[in-house]
Amino acid sequence: MILITGGRVLDPASGTDAISDVLIDGNRIARVGPGISAPDAEVLNASGSIVAPGFIDLHCHLREPGQEISETIETGTRAAVAGGFTAVCCMPNTQPVNDNAAVTRSIVDRAATAAHARVWPIGAASVGSKGEALAEIAGMQDAGIVAVSDDGRPIATAKLMRQVMEYCGSLGLPVIDHCEDHSLAAGGVMREGPRSIRLGLKGIPAASESICVGRDVEIAALTGARLHIAHFSTRASLDYVRTAKAKGLAVTCEVTPHHFTLIDEDVVYDTTYKMNPPLASRHDRDALLEGLADGTVDAIATDHAPHHPASKDVEFDRAPFGVTGFETAIALALSELVHTKRISLMRLVELFTAGPGRVLGIERKLAAKSPADITIFSPEHKWTFRAADSASRSRNTPFDGRDFRGAPTATIVAGRIVYRRPAAAATA
């Protein structure tokens, strides 16, 4: 048994916000309430910290199978729990692509022995994510996928999108789309604007994203199926989602910490600033902040995209897209959203728990009998992020050396403490 004492329990599912104890028995929560006495339990002092349901990351790349030089299920989930995540959804663009039940099973089996967090695979929508034939979606569902996506690229055509959504609607699986009109974006390496002009880097216009969001929202209306917009970055995309929600469509969306923190003007000739979608204009970034504050945005997702250092230590044009994100997500959300008074701590917890849970149809709450997945974090702990110390196999982050206020303190998955912040843990 584990007894978490003296923390501030925040649970968006029930609206709880109180200093309380949490008792864990086995892999379930036994009791939540003040002054719990459990003499045999291991005590985890959480005073000064927030005790929240386990954080869920809807969007990451664990690179296994096939790209273990960049990340593995073991190293990726070690970084995830160090970042406070108890469950991560890994995208299917592995080698081979997770487009069939055998690959899904290999990921699930590997996770069962090696993972520190729960691993919820996302299956490819089309065979090889090539945008032609539908993948073995029902087979993958039986093997354990929680959603489908051709992430890294959009679901290629409106016609395929319609078929995927109709089919997944009947299976009860959300469809996640990486929205990008390839004919507009091709060859681009950063967001088109004054900065791309100055640096002489080929631009990706903002419209290349929102054109595809608009298409997808139309198809969500046509099919009535569940659509989730991945890592959107522009005001126009937000407007599409907002309108869709107002119409009652089953449309949700996520934003990443790097997109709400950085803007295109921050880009220098440093490939840690190269990701897709690219960093947006200030005007578009401000829209993300609005959407996070007003409830339009459902989830914060990391899009943790590790790349081996040698592959990023090249000319900007030649580098792969992507940044790591597990270990800086909570700190960035606290720094950019909570400490700046844009959102409350409760809303922050919602964006990492109930929000992504709703997208997947999975409930996570701090109540008796619920799975004991718990994230404990300090909103005040001061620290400096060092990419060299990361649990990830990769180092491609623009936040190396950044000073933060707020950090995960401990992470509990299925009743096991899988991460504890070293030394200064739990100090405010």
Partner: protein, 330 residues
């Protein structure tokens, strides 16, 4: 961290690199042009060889095909007495999959005293400058900058016009994809030039106005010519990838600089072109060979500017040493 920008270096202290015009101040640019002046005279000397950089080696790393810039740098180095190491994309191990940084480290291991780099990726010179101890000179990177071209253009303009300050400069062509245009915009705007950018609309996007104050975009060449002191014609680059090509007949119809159109500029306006020119496309032969054309002067001035930069960045001479060309030419 090594400081890689020239901008924080006081004028008379030797800077480490030349990565672009954008980090330079007007004073630094003037200093380089003044240093180039005696080297201009020197090109007419019967014995074109100095001992200034004797024993020094300059690596010429051209990762993108180039004839005139490479020969200009090689000649400038030779006339200063330096030896050169040549790397050309076609013959290098880049074809075998070697990364840029490995290629550059291999060159560095041969102990050159400076490296001149031309690369198709914007930012490649800065990328290597961050990792090398020796001076890096940008000979053109992607669609970012071509600083020595802008400096030789400025030297040409200053010779013909007597000044850089307050001129009306019109740049014609594919500004969006032109590193020559970017470097010239940065340079001329330091001296208060009024810049007119003219070309098909997709080649002169609005964001270009953010590069400097006093930029206007014009889609009619007749309007762009009005009151121009200097007309810069850019080569129409047909090798652009990912872009639907425009009709060349249309381009000639609307944007070719011919004698009629040039008459719309000031009577003593000069015409510049970074080369290579494509006669009959962006420029009419009568203009290219006419009295207002400075195209061949630009080539000669390129040697002077590159000698000044190599002298300035690669030699061990103290900053206040006598100018080598003044010293030798009797």
């Amino acid at each position: 961290m090594n400081e890689v920008r020239l901008s924080t270096t006081p004028v008379l202290q030797r800077p480490r690199h030349l990565l672009g015009i954008e980090p330079l101040t007007a004073e630094q640019i003037t200093f380089i042009l003044d240093q180039a002046k005696p080297f201009q005279e020197f090109q007419r000397h019967p014995l074109k060889k100095l001992a200034t950089l004797r024993g020094k080696t300059v690596a010429l790393a051209f990762f993108e095909p180039s004839t005139r810039t490479r020969i200009s740098f090689a000649t400038a180095a030779a006339r200063l007495g330096a030896d050169t190491m040549n790397l050309q994309a076609e013959s290098s191990s880049l074809k075998k999959g070697e990364s840029l940084i490995d290629t550059v480290w291999t060159l560095e291991a041969m102990r050159p005293d400076g490296i001149v780099i031309r690369h198709s990726a914007s930012g490649a010179p800065e990328f290597i400058a961050r990792r090398l101890e020796i001076p890096v000179l940008n000979a053109g990177d992607g669609t970012h900058e071509h600083p020595t071209q802008a400096l030789l253009d400025a030297l040409t303009i200053r010779d013909r016009k007597g000044r850089l300050e307050g001129l009306n400069v019109t740049i014609l062509g594919d500004i969006l994809h032109s590193r020559v245009a970017r470097s010239n915009i940065h340079l001329l705007s330091r001296f208060g030039a009024r810049l007119t950018l003219c070309g098909p609309a997709m080649w002169i996007p609005k964001e270009l106005e953010c590069l400097a104050p006093n930029i206007r975009r014009v889609s009619r060449i007749e309007e762009a010519m009005q009151d121009a002191d200097v007309v810069m014609v850019l080569r129409v680059q047909s090798e652009r990838i990912n872009e639907p090509p425009i009709s060349m007949d249309d381009y000639i119809l609307r944007y070719q600089l011919n004698s009629d159109r040039l008459r719309g500029a000031k009577p003593n306006a000069i015409v510049l072109h970074p080369g290579p020119i494509i006669r009959g496309l962006e420029i009419d032969p009568a203009v290219a060979d006419g009295p207002q054309s400075c195209i061949l002067e630009q080539v000669t001035n390129g040697l002077a500017v590159r000698m000044a930069l190599l002298f300035h960045l690669v030699s061990d001479a103290p900053p206040d040493a006598p100018h080598p060309a003044k010293e030798s030419s009797a």
